[in-house]
Amino acid sequence: MKAERIILSLIAIFVGLLVAGGGFYIYQMTKQIPQDKADTITIKSHATPTPRSNNYLVVDSPKDEAIVSSKTITISGKTVPKSTIIVSTESSDEVVEPAQSGSFSLTQTINDVSLISITAVFPDGTEQTVQKTVSYVTEEF
């Protein structure tokens, strides 16, 4: 008889919780917030992007301030197709046109410490220059 009472009490609590939960859910669904008390939250998915120019010059190799163990280095990168690439070092110059994809690659001989200037003249006449420092070192340190 005692066990029966406990079980019945538990069932009553459970049923009570269900009814209260249902009531609260119905209340929330039907509740209307006045327009003047409602706050608007705006979430920006992305920051406003900075407009990018269509002209670009990216030099992948050599890396700036690189240490190399060979005096012959490869200069490669990507730019706008139909541009003209002018590569100058202290001792020599090279003028090339990129492939249709815009990628370019050439070799240059450098001195012990070289400043390499890579200029792309784009089809619209504008230009962009990238300078890289490359050091030829054979000693271990």
Binding site: L8, I86, S88, E90, V113, S117, V121
Partner: protein, 261 residues
């Protein structure tokens, strides 16, 4: 009573579900080991792990680099150098740093470096502190590269005015050592001073005149008459000038930079 029991069972079955979780691998049964020996081995492994981790971190943190710049300040065992991007770089010097200068007759050291000197620094760059521990510091002479449009030619003084982007301009001295190359496409064609024309797009490689700002002595000139004009280079009509007669193309005799102007 039976009805009540059945109801309770039905409600319990509704809300109770049993999930059986089994281990992927069997739990290893403990093996008899000597406590002290295991602890010692564990300590050794941990020490080794720490050493390896420390060394790996050190190797990742430090890399070999070389830069070129102008000395801004020398103090004790530290140099401040302005690199090619006009960024100040801190260079640390220690007892094994080697110094050299082509003009030095005797030993050359940090105290001989003066502000404004162009140096190349090779050493170990610490990515965390962004400082370079120098191993080699050499006084060097690096060329200046400029790209622009010829806005004026003086056939008597053998100079060329070069207008650049952002309103900058350079006065370029043409010497007998100056090599001029004409590019109608990507093929180089040897040319002389007389082939240069106002409006030509050029690249000049040379060395700045120490006495006059925005003036340089050209060692090489690359002219591109067929390339489109740069819309960002604005040449004022008053700036366009062409003086004197055309030269034979051989350039003038080498003159010192100290000549009266």
């Amino acid at each position: 009573m039976n009805t009540l029991f059945t109801t309770i069972c039905a409600v319990s079955l509704l809300f109770i579900s049993t999930v059986h979780v089994q281990a992927q691998t069997a739990t290893p049964s403990p093996q008899p080991t000597t406590q002290t020996a295991t602890e010692k081995l564990s300590d050794q492994i941990n020490n080794l792990k720490e050493k390896i981790a420390s060394r790996v971190a050190q190797l990742k943190l430090v890399e070999k680099r070389g830069l070129i710049g102008s000395v801004k300040e020398v103090s004790g065992t530290q140099l401040t150098v302005s690199d090619i991007t006009i960024r100040n770089r801190i260079i640390d010097v220690d007892e094994i740093t080697k110094f050299s200068s082509p003009s030095a007759k005797d030993s050359f050291g940090i105290s001989d470096l003066k502000a404004g000197a162009k140096v190349s620094v090779v050493g170990l760059y610490n990515k965390d502190s962004e400082r370079l521990l120098a191993r080699f510091i050499d006084v060097v002479s690096v060329p200046t590269f400029i790209s622009g449009t010829i806005s004026g030619i003086d056939h008597e003084a053998f100079t060329v005015n070069v207008a650049m982007e952002e309103g900058k301009s350079y006065l370029v001295d043409i010497e007998t050592v100056t090599r001029t190359t004409l590019y109608t496409d990507t093929t180089p064609e040897k040319a002389g001073f007389s082939k240069l024309e106002v409006g030509n797009r050029i690249v000049v490689v040379g060395y700045p005149d120490v006495r006059e700002k925005d003036r340089m002595v050209a060692t090489r000139i690359l002219a591109f008459p067929s390339l489109p004009k740069n819309p960002n280079v604005v040449i004022a009509p008053s700036a366009v000038s062409e003086k004197g007669v055309s030269s034979t193309g051989s350039g003038k005799k080498l003159t010192p930079l100290t000549k009266p102007r």
